[in-house]
């Protein structure tokens, strides 16, 4: 028990912003009477949330850390089923039991030698926002390439714009360039891309991985395999890699695409 890095925390919802029918942004702090200080958390890490008052939701749900601000942390939640809907419906003051931080994060380069592109869509932008902030704080210049169905589905744009340049695509052309993330003209600017970071739906991540590979850029993706424990104990969340089956919850959720078998 010396120096625990992971903790089970009783937390309180500070704000719950249901800014879209499908998405809620929750900000959380440690519940009164508990240690107010959050453990150190890195971009790309996630938490396991116990769902309150959800008789059909037995296991915890994995949710990425959207950002950390002092003693508060934020989760961006999309309604996918009962568990996430309960989270989206929470009000300020509600209690949540959380295990955090889990998994390994993205790798942030010590030095910038080319463009750093953070590509994603939907709730995939949650960890990218945290990553972008950490990069900016480290003196790097991240850029975002964000894809959405339409204008109304672009999330946290203002927050991202404070961090770096944002390139947008929409499926219906209602904002930014028309098409999917990998179609954006920014990919073809010619300047060297040092590394691409991607989190989003699996088809998007696979397309971004192929594109990065063809552009000779390093690429890290954040996987969302189904999890039970989130701790490396049950071996339910495995992804096939060049090293065999590995746990996404402990060895990931971030993987360099060279480790995955996607490009074979």
């Amino acid at each position: 028990m010396t120096n625990p890095t992971k903790r089970i925390m009783e937390m309180e919802v500070v704000t719950a912003q249901a800014f879209h029918p499908l998405y809620t942004l929750l900000t959380l702090r440690c519940a009164p009477g508990t240690d107010p200080e959050l453990p150190a958390m890195k971009p790309g890490q996630f938490v396991q949330v116990a769902i309150p008052d959800a008789p059909h939701t037995f296991l915890r749900r994995p949710i990425s850390i959207n950002y950390v601000d002092g003693n508060e942390m934020a989760l961006l939640v999309r309604r996918a089923g009962e568990g996430t809907s309960r989270l989206c419906d929470l009000r300020s003051g509600a209690r949540l039991n959380i295990v955090a931080p889990l998994g390994r994060g993205f790798t942030i380069p010590g030095q910038q030698t080319g463009r750093l592109l953070l590509a994603g869509g939907g709730v995939g932008i949650a960890p990218l926002c945290f990553l972008g902030r950490a990069m900016k704080a480290a003196g790097l210049t991240p850029e975002f390439v964000i894809g959405a169905r339409s204008d109304a589905d672009l999330l946290e744009l203002d927050m991202l714009r404070e961090i770096g340049e944002v390139h947008v695509t929409t499926d219906d052309g209602s904002a930014g360039e028309h098409g999917v993330v990998t179609c954006h003209s920014t990919w073809q600017l010619g300047a060297t891309i040092q590394r691409v970071y991607c989190c989003g739906p699996a088809p998007m991540m696979k397309a971004v991985a192929r594109l990065s590979d063809s552009l000779g850029a390093d690429c890290e993706v954040s996987l969302e395999n189904m999890m039970a424990c989130g701790l490396g104990a049950c071996l339910c969340c495995v992804e096939k890699t060049v090293r065999g089956n590995v746990c996404v919850c402990t060895e990931g959720p971030v993987f360099n695409i060279k480790e995955l078998t996607w490009l074979d």
Partner: protein
Amino acid sequence: MARLSVNIGGGLTIKNPVLTASGTFGYGEEFADFIDLSRLGGYIIKGTTLNPREGNPYPRMAETPAGMLNCVGLQNKGVDYFIDHIYPRIKHYGSELIVNVSGACVDDYAEAARRIAARTDIRAIEVNISCPNVKEGGMAFGTTCDGAATVTRAVRDAFPGTLIVKLSPNVTDIAEIARAVEAEGADAVSLINTLMGMAIDVERRRPCLSMITGGLSGPAVRPVAVRMVWQTAKAVKIPVIGLGGIMDGRDAIEFILAGASAVEIGTANFVDPAVTVKIVEWIDNYCARHGVDDINDLIGAINQ
């Protein structure tokens, strides 16, 4: 404080009746940030086989009402890797370390057990004759008296310490299997392993698991498990270790009252990584509330 130590067979006494269930507690170290492992009666680690196994493809898990299905398929790096690289790291937690052993054939079980006996100080093994997630071996041994007896005999010859045989609930008469392994020298039986189940994603018209079927665990199985522990405890003289859907101290006491000398906590660890120690505390408190000085007085102690 009541006396909580119990005997789990072969002369082995553990400091309290709370163990962890194999495959749900990793190697124990995954939980070291949340609990003091020395407070457990013991911890039963991941299913270990003679040779390394990659396990089954993803998806391996599906949540179901009050439980989950899994088809992990015994992914592990093999007994030698365990002994050389993992065991040195985890043997200092201060409670009984028990290895769960599986095999594809009788010789594999025996050889893995022999290596554990020869190269470690591990005092007890739990032999899994009941894994529903591997094509060969596994559950096939656990569903007939002959198969169960054959594996038990082979491992008995290979391992001098406490031999716990873990039984499959996927049988008509579990007490009969328990008697068969007792006759071959098992020191204890543990039950239940997971119940074979299946779930379908109706939108995609696809099975939820890569292997189509998998093992059901969690509170959904508890009443079945309590019944089987009760039947088995009446049928054998060796200690019975009960498990299946234990979520809290109340559930643990339920198994002890049904006849279990000790309990294992499985899927509950996923929901609350600190649940095991809470269960130890709850049991202690229960004993105080009920004026029980020795937990052994509660084993099988139901009024009928």
